[in-house]
């Protein structure tokens, strides 16, 4: 960001005898420079630690960069070769498709369950609502890593509670059943972890929205003979639509870039090739296989997709803040 430059060059008339221009400007000039001085430190951090790495990422993705380059060899420019290699690789498309599918399932489950829990909160009595709210907060507050490890323990092959429960309830003999060694049940467990952590935020936010629902409209609909489903469909849903849109966009972004949950469960289950999602895939290619160039190309694709996914959210936010910006 170079936001502080225009005024610094445009209005920095130095007083006589001052060694450097902007450091001792006249009074009215200093007032105009104050806001730039105030945002300068934050802007500097963003430029140096986000702008610069982004540029380096793009540069890296157009170079040949392997193990020799890691030890100081010059990295030759190869144009779009890395992208060609990534996009021509079946493995990449499998991973991308898997990531999108996993993300879609997670978001659908999170939003549906979140809405149901929010409606439940809205109908419960004060005491019960407090209890449910506290339990949701507990789940929401759990560090993702700790939560994943706890679920890993719940689904443990030998001593896990889930296997014990399934076996005990007579559904099937799940003694020593390994959940994490099959891709499908691996992702079922991963989805449980992601959804478990995602629902509380969605439910509590939607509930907060529901409490703002104008009661007179609800009652009017009721008097007109609208049933519960019709009231939900024609009163509640349109009222909550902006919140639902934002929550869906945020959940999509979060679930699209999921890393910790999959990484930890992979370490526990031992299979990586068939369970990689985009973030983990980029990590394994670069850090694991020392193919930093290809990894960078995957990462660039990931950034672009994330931006596209959240374009809706951004538009909504910007429109809302338009007059305040």
């Amino acid at each position: 960001m170079t936001v502080h430059s225009p005024a610094a060059t445009g209005s920095g008339t130095p007083s006589p005898g001052a060694p450097s221009g902007p450091s001792r400007p006249r009074r009215w000039d200093r007032r105009r420079l104050t806001p730039y001085g105030l945002i300068a430190p934050a802007a500097a951090v963003l430029v140096v630690m986000l702008g610069y790495p982004l540029v380096r990422l793009v540069v890296l993705s157009t170079q040949h960069f392997g193990l020799p380059q890691q030890f100081g060899q010059p990295a030759p420019f190869v144009g779009l070769d890395n992208y060609r290699r990534v996009l021509g690789d079946d493995q990449f498309w499998t991973v991308l498709l898997r990531t999108v599918a996993f993300c879609a399932v997670d978001v659908a489950l999170t939003m549906t369950l979140g809405m149901l829990v929010a409606l439940l909160l809205n109908t419960l009595g004060a005491v019960m609502r407090g209890v449910v709210g506290s339990a949701l907060l507990l789940a929401w507050a759990m560090p993702p890593l700790a939560a994943t490890i706890v679920w890993q323990w719940l689904f443990d092959t030998q001593y896990g509670l889930v296997n014990w429960l399934v076996t005990r309830s007579g559904l099937a003999d799940y003694r020593n059943h390994s959940w994490l060694s099959q891709p499908l049940s691996f992702f079922a467990v991963a989805a449980v972890v992601v959804v478990w952590m995602g629902v509380p935020f969605v439910a509590l936010t939607l509930y907060a929205g529901l409490t703002q629902l104008p009661q007179d409209v609800v009652e009017a609909a009721q008097l007109d003979g609208a049933g519960a489903w019709q009231r939900f469909r024609h009163v509640t849903v349109p009222f909550l639509a902006p919140v639902v849109a934002i929550l869906t966009a945020l959940s999509t972004l979060w679930d699209f870039r999921v890393f910790t949950q999959v990484y930890v469960l992979q370490a526990a289950g031992g299979i990586t090739r068939d369970t990689n999602v985009l973030g983990v895939y980029a990590y394994r290619i670069s850090i694991g296989e020392n193919r930093f160039d290809v990894g960078a190309a995957v990462a660039v694709v990931m950034v672009v997709l994330a931006m596209l996914l959240t374009a809706v959210y951004l538009r909504q936010m910007l429109r809302r803040e338009e007059e305040e910006l």
Partner: protein, 283 residues
């Protein structure tokens, strides 16, 4: 009977609703309870044929094991240092920027705000490789400073955005009154607005704290020497090393890691739910 829907719901309906509520409480709360419970169980109880659902007759052995590994205390110190640095620096920088964007009109202000908003959409996971290379160039790998700089980037946009709202919430007339009484512009902000936005500082500070405390991938890549590990990296190394043989110890470690976050979270809970909805419905 003409308007049945307006009456309190019938008894069976109420019962079903409360049953659903109990189910939600169980699903949401039980894993957390199970973590704490397991951390107090003896190894024999954990590997026994039936699960021990209460820690009655339990032990503190698992916690002793965790603390006996010197690496835990080192990791705790490392995490505390990075987290504290992130919170303090993020708050200072964000307060300054929030003050600028909500109290001044200047060219580039809108661009700055849009950047702050857009930047939050960049997935940090995609930047692991290049941020590592940048830190490596400056020899900041395996340093608390390097990791703090990384965390600042992912915490600052949200903190600026949120604090901006809190600054705007304090009437500018209060500052102007102080300026008439002889305060400078910044003095008026520091003496009047800053104390009034204390709740906002607490909320955003805790947000930064949770982010820095929980962060895993960058800690994994940036702090790659065992003696520099932060708590999450230590915990995952412990978890991988135990290979499912020491769930008591792993759960004790998880509990110790989760405890500060759970405490902070409950402290600011109401603030974290209300805001988004109130603003979003406003439409």
């Amino acid at each position: 009977m003409t308007r049945p829907a307006l009456r309190p719901a019938l008894r069976p309906g109420r019962l079903a609703l409360n049953a659903c509520a109990v189910l939600v409480v169980l699903v949401a709360g039980f894993p957390v309870y199970w973590m704490v419970d397991t951390s107090f169980l003896r190894r024999g109880d954990i590997t026994g044929p039936t699960p021990h659902l209460t820690p009655i007759g339990g032990t503190l052995d698992n916690y002793r094991t965790v603390f006996a590994r010197g690496s835990f205390v080192t990791a705790l110190g490392s995490s505390a240092l990075v987290t504290a640095a992130t919170v303090v620096v993020a708050l200072v920088l964000a307060v300054l920027a929030a003050f600028a964007v909500s109290r001044f009109r200047f060219r580039g202000r809108r661009a700055f705000l849009v950047t702050v908003l857009v930047v939050q959409m960049v997935p940090p996971e995609a930047l692991v490789i290049s941020l590592f290379k940048v830190l490596d160039t400056w020899q900041l790998v395996n340093t608390a400073l390097g990791l703090t700089l990384v965390y600042l980037v992912f915490v600052l946009p949200f903190t600026i955005w949120t604090l901006r709202g809190f600054v705007s919430g304090v009437p500018i007339e209060l500052e102007e009154a102080a300026m008439i009484d002889g305060c400078g512009r910044l003095g008026a902000f520091r003496r009047i607005t800053l104390p009034l936005m204390a709740p906002g500082l607490v909320a955003t500070g805790i947000f930064a704290l949770i982010q820095a405390w929980n962060e895993f991938i960058f800690a994994l890549v940036v702090m790659n020497r065992p003696e520099r590990q932060t708590l999450p990296v230590w915990l995952q190394a412990f978890n991988e090393g135990a290979k499912g043989t020491d769930w008591g110890g792993v759960m004790a470690g998880s509990t110790l890691m989760a405890l500060p976050v759970l405490a902070c979270f409950l402290l600011v809970q109401s603030r974290m739910t209300g805001g988004l909805a109130a603003g979003a419905v406003k439409g």
